[in-house]
């Protein structure tokens, strides 16, 4: 495998950076060359955030080039669309369908689109594939909303031809969360796997 490109998007505070880190370490442990890119500082505060994870034999810059993303892992539906220019044709969008409505929408100054509209653009205009489910709900089922990112990573491992072994990724999560949160995260990871399998008909 020459390179594999993951674009992780969401809202500041949702755990986008943590998810990227877990995937980066899993890739490093699997023997790949790894490059990750992220933005810190003011831009993190509840605003739109994006993080890149790239690995393989030949990876260069820390940002995924536009049109080269194998997967967009979106923690929030409109955030999937905001970075949809990174998706390659035939790429996969794994998305938590629970919206976080921006303040501008609450103030009545902007509209929040229907999920179906977002899905249509991904599938028709960008020729992408869509794995959408309410990851937050599953995280609550696992024990806590903070495991939403673990649910999503679980789902990500089921993407066809995803180059990292799911058990490998699980091990990194086990090692990186606080000891008392391990069981909860393992459950969240499984729920994510199940959800993706169901959607993909596996």
């Amino acid at each position: 495998m020459k390179e594999y490109n993951i674009v992780i998007t969401g809202v500041g505070g949702q755990g986008v950076l943590t998810a990227a880190n877990i995937l980066g370490w899993a890739a490093l442990h699997a023997g790949h060359k790894v490059r990750m890119g992220e933005v810190h500082g003011m831009s993190q505060r509840f605003g739109s955030v994006v993080s890149y994870v790239r690995f393989g034999e030949e990876v260069y810059g820390s940002m995924v080039p536009e049109g080269k993303g194998d997967v967009i892992l979106a923690f929030e539906p409109v955030e999937a669309l905001r970075y949809i220019n990174y998706l390659k044709e035939g790429g996969m969008v794994v998305v938590n369908t629970k919206p976080i409505v921006p303040v501008q929408v609450s103030m009545g100054k902007a509209r929040y689109p229907e999920l179906e509209e977002i899905k249509r653009i991904v599938e028709e205009d960008f020729k992408g594939k869509w794995i959408g489910f309410n990851a937050e709900e599953l995280a609550m089922k696992a024990g806590h909303v903070v495991t939403t990112n673990t649910v999503l990573i679980g789902a990500l491992t089921q993407v066809p031809e995803f180059p990292l072994d799911a058990e490998h990724v699980r091990e990194v999560i086990r090692l990186s969360v606080p000891p008392k949160a391990v069981d909860m995260n393992m459950k969240a990871f499984d729920l994510g796997i199940e959800a993706a399998k169901k959607i993909l008909g596996l």
């Binding site: 809202v11 500041g12 505070g13 880190n21 980066g24 490093l28 060359k33 790894v34 490059r35 990750m36 890119g37 992220e38 933005v39 810190h40 500082g41 003011m42 831009s43 993190q44 505060r45 509840f46 605003g47 739109s48 030949e58 260069y60 810059g61 820390s62 940002m63 080039p65 536009e66 049109g67 080269k68 409109v78 955030e79 669309l81 905001r82 949809i84 220019n85 976080i100 409505v101 921006p102 303040v103 501008q104 929408v105 609450s106 103030m107 009545g108 100054k109 902007a110 509209r111 929040y112 689109p113 977002i118 653009i121 205009d125 960008f126 937050e136 909303v145 990194v172 090692l175 990186s176």
Partner: protein, 646 residues
């Protein structure tokens, strides 16, 4: 998994770890046996300082969070004069603050290695401007090293100390956001014994007033010495391990790729499937080593320079070529944009045009459908956190001034007060600028009046400034306003940490990473300076804050209100660590009249508008329990959940 900060100290040469560029630089400094480190945080440089803060004691390194970049620069410089290896770090605009010392002291040189890490922020992800530090370096005649990935950043840091010591000259290590905030595999090197044993190193300052006093008679001698040094360094860099020629040595076309652009160029060529080019990989954009350039240019018929921001390399190459009578096309900023950050797309587009090829992706088509997709995407700018005390301070200021004031503000999280619905920031320029601008605005608005009349005018200018910024460069401006009998209100938004860059301590925090700091209360400073009214309020009590601000506005002269409440993000982080709970608020549907004051004037990100019920709603997973909503709602609709939980 081990903590990253532990990995930075691992005595495991050859081990491969995933490090942030900034952490890799910290490791490089340790491998280079650094003795003193001083810096003021600034995105994207901060994690270098934060990493040093955690490892310093265990590595026998003196480390401090200085109050500003100039002071940090001086601390480290003096250590380097004393024969120690010393480093300071800052963001690009931080170098502006340190510039006075930087440009004046460069001629004096150093004894121990002195490395100035400057992190540029092309595309301004978290900055007030876009400036290229390489231009400063050229101005000061100081060499710049620019890494292309995290591992190289570590290696270059070591080399930077050696280069600095060899020439007794300053060295700048320049990164950009995409190096500082890139993670990549880094191979650990050897740590010196002194670092492993946490042995503090001490220096000795040898007095030499002819060198360390920059009176004109001395300074006149320095300038030619600096010019001589930089040319010697240019020679030296021909053999710099971070500069090399690669690719097809018989190629007729060449590409020069400095710093991080090298990664983009490699990716672009790979993508285009182009092999018959020669590449000059430049780790030293200034000074460009002419010997290596000559070797590279040999046999070439045309050249492209792919560099981010200013044409620093391009100008050197063109000057060199002109002087040599070399008449081949040299492209650069005609094909590569001069603004915003480099991307693979930009590199691919420039190279394709340069070689007369099609881009591998139809960007026009992509842009077209992307533009269409964006039409339905609502904006989501960053916002003040839930429970952020600044929101309450701004709310009180707006209310007390009936939204009719002029509101100069400063650099920090609170700059986000500019966004709707608060709209409480009218100007932001640079660190500490709010108070100076406030004074100037007051003069301009009321300046034509007699002093007698002016005194009668109500205060309309309300400056806001954070605690760290106050100590950074707010102090001289406050002294100036008080001294010149200005008539402004300064509200110091004191959240007791430098929040925006990651909760670093400052004089208002008192604590240092090593625990032995002394706290300086802002109100004591304001009183000592002679402010006409000084008060301290808790912004979580909105009514009391409002009343105090109202009173402060009535007082003639300079009023200072210290609005003190610990940063919510910091507080919640600490509570989570300790496993503590906080109250969660909810909307009592009976009481909510749907007046929208909470969304239209207060703007907490945890409060949403329920379009169906025409009522406000609190998202429980986002509420951090400050209770501000309960205080501002005229109908008492926000109530805490009995059994509060996270």
């Amino acid at each position: 998994m081990a903590k990253v900060t532990d990995m930075v100290l691992w005595d495991k040469p050859g081990e491969k770890v995933l490090l942030l560029g900034n952490q890799a630089i910290a490791r490089g400094a340790l491998e280079a046996n650094i003795a003193v480190y001083a810096a003021y945080p600034g995105t994207p440089s901060s994690e270098l300082t934060d990493t040093m803060a955690v490892v310093a004691k265990r590595a026998g390194v003196y480390m401090e969070y200085s109050t500003n970049e100039k002071v940090a620069f001086e601390t480290a410089l003096a250590a380097a004069w004393s024969g120690l290896r010393a480093m300071t770090a800052m963001k690009h605009v931080g170098l502006n603050v340190a510039a006075d010392t930087f440009l004046s002291s460069v001629g004096m040189g150093v004894e121990g290695g002195f490395v100035i890490m400057v992190a540029d922020d092309p595309s301004m992800w978290s900055s007030q401007n876009e400036q290229d530090t390489r231009v400063y370096a050229k101005f000061a005649n100081v060499p710049v090293l620019e890494p292309s990935d995290p591992h190289e950043a570590k290696e270059m840091t070591k080399y930077a100390f050696e280069l600095s010591e060899k020439f007794k000259h300053f060295v700048i290590l320049r990164t950009t956001t995409r190096t500082s905030h890139a993670r990549g595999d880094v191979i650990l090197g050897e740590l010196p014994e002194e670092i492993k044993q946490a042995k503090r190193k001490f220096g000795k300052f040898n007095k030499d007033p002819s060198r360390f006093v920059d009176v004109p008679s001395n300074a006149r001698r320095f300038h030619p010495i600096v010019l001589e040094k930089i040319e010697k360094i240019r020679e030296e860099l021909n053999a710099c391990p971070f500069n090399w020629i690669e690719g097809d040595e018989n190629a007729k076309v060449g590409i020069i790729a400095p710093g991080l652009s090298y990664a983009y160029v490699k990716e672009a060529l790979h993508w285009l499937g182009v092999e018959n080019v020669k590449i000059l990989k430049l780790g030293t954009p200034f000074p460009v080593p002419y010997g290596l350039l000559e070797k590279f240019m040999d046999g070439l018929e045309k050249v492209l320079i792919v560099e981010e921001l200013e044409p620093v390399v391009e100008e050197q190459v063109k000057t060199w070529a002109y002087d040599r009578g070399l008449r081949i096309p040299i492209h650069g900023k005609d094909l590569v944009p001069r603004v915003y950050e480099m991307t693979t797309r930009r590199a691919v587009t420039a190279i394709a045009k340069f070689l007369g090829l099609e881009t591998p992706l139809n960007y026009e088509k992509l842009d077209e459908k992307y533009k269409k997709a964006l039409e339905i995407v609502p904006p989501r700018p960053p916002s003040l956190c839930p429970a952020c005390p600044h929101r309450n301070s701004f709310f009180a200021i707006k209310k007390a001034t009936h939204s009719k004031g002029i509101y100069p503000s400063d650099i920090g999280c609170y700059t986000l007060g500019l966004l709707p619905p608060l709209n409480a920031v009218d100007t932001t320029v640079a660190m500490g600028g709010s108070i100076g601008i406030a004074h100037g605005l007051e003069i301009a608005q009321h300046g034509s009046l007699s002093e007698e009349q002016r005194k009668k005018e109500k205060k309309i200018v309300v400056a806001t400034i954070g605690d760290s910024t106050f100590y950074h460069t707010g102090l001289p401006a406050l002294a100036n306003a008080i001294y010149n009998r200005s008539n402004v209100l300064v509200v110091v938004l004191d959240n007791l940490v430098t929040a925006m860059t990651g909760d670093q301590p400052n004089p208002s925090t008192g604590q240092t990473p090593h625990g032995m700091g002394k706290r300086i209360p802002i109100e004591d400073v304001a009183k000592a300076m002679g402010a006409d009214f000084v008060a301290v309020v808790d912004p979580y009590d909105i009514k009391a804050t409002y009343e105090t601000i109202k009173k402060a506005l009535e007082v003639e002269g300079v009023s200072v209100v210290v609005s003190r409440q610990v940063c919510a993000l910091y507080r919640i982080g600490q509570m989570r660590k300790r496993g503590e709970k906080w109250p969660i608020y909810y909307v009592d549907e009976e009481a909510c009249t749907g007046c929208r004051l909470c969304v239209n004037a207060y703007g907490c990100p945890a409060i949403f508008w329920d379009e169906e019920k025409k009522q406000a709603r609190v998202e429980p997973t986002m509420c951090w329990g400050c209770g501000g909503c309960a205080q501002i709602c005229p109908f008492g609709a926000f109530k805490p959940v009995e059994e509060g939980e996270e």
